[in-house]
């Protein structure tokens, strides 16, 4: 009896917590996303963040794409060869990369690199009163700090994903050659089987992931409390929560889209 009561109370508290955070997250993100359109516009801040999210993540994303496409090909090629379905290796790799592996793995890698860094930087600014300093100078930290970060993530992730997709297929191509396929066999049917929608839907997903990983990083940073320990906690939480949301929402979007 006692345990049951405790369990119900616990669930209730958890539910309230989740509702509280969702509400606060929603309001903050709306302010950041739409606040960006109010003048004065600060394009310099946006470009700077696009550089940090996009250009600086290139290396990681290329490596991830290359080896994912490669290892995926390695895994499927054996089975496909047994059924003499060599011509399907290329299309399968391309479909998997554009629909799933490209968007999701890029998002996870960029979360680790950028989402965590945003959470850490913003929490440090929060606990050292730099956010308060901005506020007192009539410089809204949400619009000055959060807006460019969230927009940069949303705009750059599709570009990074497109690169990962392409590099992944190239990685698969070379692995396939190494396993005795000829180039025509790999490339030949990709065009027939992979449709624009595969690529396009993948890029839409990635834009959403970019929004999630930056906005969650910003949210955790913006509401940090309690010194250096708080900074560490926020950073970890930002990564864990982003991962979970990316994986769950990927499943749901995939179920709807494809």
């Amino acid at each position: 009896m006692n345990i049951a009561v405790k369990a119900v109370a616990g669930i209730g508290r958890l539910t309230l917590d989740i509702i509280f955070h969702l509400g606060r997250y929603g309001i903050l993100t709306l302010k950041a996303v739409f606040g960006a359109f109010l003048p004065p516009w600060r394009l310099r801040g946006l470009f700077r963040q696009m550089e940090l999210v996009g250009v600086d993540s290139l290396m990681v994303v290329i490596l991830t794409g290359l080896f994912t496409g490669g290892v995926f090909t390695l895994q499927i090629i054996y089975g496909f060869q047994r059924f003499s379905a060599e011509s399907m290796v290329g299309p399968t790799v391309a479909t998997a990369m554009t629909r799933e592996l490209g968007p999701v793995l890029t998002a996870l890698m960029v979360t680790g690199r950028v989402g965590s860094a945003m959470a850490a930087e913003l929490s440090a600014m929060k606990v050292t009163e730099q956010m308060d300093a901005l506020t007192v100078m009539a410089a809204d930290p949400v619009r000055y700090l959060l807006s460019p970060r969230i927009w940069a993530g949303t705009l750059m992730l599709p570009l990074l994903t497109a690169i990962a997709d392409a590099v992944g297929v190239v990685g698969g191509f070379f692995v396939a050659l190494g396993r005795g396929l000829d180039p025509g066999q790999f490339v030949g049917r990709i065009e027939d089987i992979v449709v624009m929608a595969d690529i396009f839907n993948g890029l839409i997903k990635s834009a959403f992931f970019g929004f999630i990983l930056t906005s969650v990083g910003c949210y955790m940073g913006y509401y940090t409390k309690g010194g250096a320990e708080g900074v560490g906690r926020s950073t970890t939480m930002a990564v864990v929560i982003s991962y979970v949301i990316i994986l769950v929402s990927d499943f749901m979007m995939t179920a709807i889209m494809f």
Binding site: T128, D132, A133, T135, V136, M137, A138
Partner: protein, 248 residues
């Protein structure tokens, strides 16, 4: 362009059930140097943050001139903040920027001066604080005293009508302290600003202040001129003064 007076009426602020301010009422004089003193943890910094709209009081009101800011919207606060400067106790410098960028930031952000004009003004101000050479230094390379002076320059660069200094000379050597004191007086004379200084430096309090307020246990226990302060018979004030005198 007259600097406003500030009226604080019965302000209460609680943190986690701990009453830090328990009904503070105080008139800050327009165009004067107002000192606020009190022991560590008495809520002086909290009061500054309430006066700049960073914290919301649990109850009570804040008036700037005859405008009630207690329930004001961010827009009204921001209009006021453009005429405000606040030196944070710990500096609160932007560590992603250089020393010079920190000082120029308010001018640059509000497009109040061209970049070269802003740099010129910042260099002049930093020169008065003995930091002209360090314009491009990263914040992380500065000493505590240097940080304090950079933060001071950032608070003053807009020539604000209302300036809050949270312990402007703590962590400075005696020579720098008196330079900073001079700068504060000089800036006040130049702009006619309303100045609020939180300080533990009793010598500065007694010489620079037009009016002194002593906060104790969440309320104002003294408010008057430095002369009245040093002549007061209130036990709490005597205790405070004697303790401070021993320290020096």
């Amino acid at each position: 362009m007259a600097a406003p007076s500030i009226k604080i009426v019965d302000v209460v602020k609680t943190f986690d059930g701990d009453k830090v301010l328990d009904g503070v009422s105080l008139d800050i004089l327009a165009g004067k140097i107002n000192f606020i003193i009190g022991r560590s943890g008495e809520g002086k910094s909290v009061l500054m943050k309430i006066l700049t709209g960073l914290y919301q009081p649990d109850s009570g009101s804040i008036f700037y001139g005859d405008k009630n800011l207690t329930t004001a919207r961010t827009k009204d606060w921001n209009a006021l903040r453009r005429k405000m400067g606040l030196l944070f106790q710990d500096g609160a410098l932007f560590d992603s920027m250089s020393l010079g960028e920190n000082v120029c930031f308010p001018l640059w952000f509000h497009h109040l001066a061209s970049p070269s004009e802003a740099r010129k003004r910042a260099k002049t101000l930093l020169g008065e604080l003995g930091l002209a050479e360090a314009f491009f230094s990263p914040i992380s390379s500065l000493s505590t005293g240097e940080r304090k002076r950079v933060a001071l320059a950032r608070a003053l660069i807009m020539e604000p009508e209302i300036v809050f200094f949270d312990e402007p000379t703590t962590g400075l050597d005696p020579i720098l302290s008196s330079q900073v004191d001079e700068l504060i007086v000089h800036a006040q004379k130049k702009t006619g600003a309303t100045v609020i200084v939180v300080s533990h430096d009793m010598a500065a309090t007694l010489t620079l202040a037009d009016t002194v307020t002593l906060l104790h246990q969440g309320v104002v226990v003294f408010n008057g001129t430095p002369k009245q302060l040093s002549q007061s018979d209130e036990p709490e004030i005597k205790l405070f003064l004697s303790a401070v005198n021993l320290e020096n």
